[in-house]
């Protein structure tokens, strides 16, 4: 998986505005601890929904709308996180991930 991988389609941005799916970085992951992936349903991307990152206390930390490809990306601190997906129709799914500095943790969620 190349740096940044999939999950976003916009260039790196300096502001606080994140496009759906999150912001893809283009010049290497460096010290970032990236958690990214896709959400699919019956083999088809889920483009309408939200990915939420929760800390080990279950507290919300960040959220992105899913991209057109069902993708999402987070730049977390190293450690354990819960990734939760919400989508129309009462869809709710989650998994626990471990983020590491300088690495991409790739997730493929099926709902």
């Amino acid at each position: 998986m190349p740096a940044g991988g999939s999950g976003g389609s916009s260039p790196r941005a300096s502001g606080c505005g994140a496009p759906a799916g999150g912001i893809k970085i283009t010049d290497g992951i460096g010290t970032q601890a990236i958690v990214q992936g896709h959400v699919t349903s019956a083999g088809t991307p889920v483009p309408s929904g939200y990915a939420r990152l929760l800390n080990t206390d279950g507290e919300f930390v960040a959220e992105v709308p899913l991209g057109d490809d069902g993708g999402f990306i987070f730049y977390a601190a190293p450690g354990d996180w819960t990734l939760r997906v919400l989508a129309p129709g009462g869809i709710r799914s989650e998994c626990v991930v471990s983020a590491q500095k300088g690495k991409i943790t790739q997730l493929e969620l099926t709902v």
Binding site: F60, V61, A62, A77
Partner: protein
Amino acid sequence: MTRSDVLVDADWVQSHLGDPGIVLVEVDEDTSAYDKGHIKGAVKLDWKKDLQDPVRRDFVDRAGFEALLSARGISNDDTVILYGGNNNWFAAYAYWYFKLYGHHNVKLLDGGRKKWELDSREMVTEAPSRSATSYHAKEQDKSIRAFRDDVVAAIGTLNLVDVRSPDEFAGRLLAPAHLPQEQAQRGGHVPTAKNVPWSKAAQEDGTFKSDDDLRALYGDEAGLDFGRDTIAYCRIGERSAHTWFVLHELLGQPNVKNYDGSWTEYGSLVGVPIELGDGK
């Protein structure tokens, strides 16, 4: 002030779509979200292109705000209903911004775009056509806006609420976890600030928690003294506008300011005190 003065729910919006005198305005973190689909009749405001000065770090000035709202077909008498993604993060910022320039008849759609989407309510792609108006803004209401010197003077004196995530507060991250960690300024927080992440005020569907829960969150749990004035800050002043909305508009705290310079300014100032570590 009651909740109905500042909030409307999705059913209310649904039943007032197209009503004259009511203007839906979408303001999103993801500025392309509107183009993919929005509530019928809603106009778009881009938090960066429309609301920020393109050269210096500040808001558009009064004349600029007047020109913006006139071009969008919003008049002084309109009731503006703001909504957006990510728990109304940027919509709350726009709400504060409208108040700053004296537009009092403004409300948030509780739950924002997310609630609307998760309810599977109708979204459209066509933008509405509205006739231009002659909008008149007031001078900025500085009673709701804090500047850096206000924050330094507030250390140990006023309530300072740092509404960023615990990792940003502690200095382990310099930006929210859905953004690249690319800021060059120092990490940490303003000494004596309490850390109450903005998102704690919202439920999972983006709607606000009850007044009792909110009062317990900021008072009993965080230790804010409701008898003191308060300054809220985050990284660039948008998440803290959400907390300003909670404290000032929902809980009715009289003197609450949003420090829009926030950590990107404070964390780059020479000589100001910074504290590291988790909240106490």
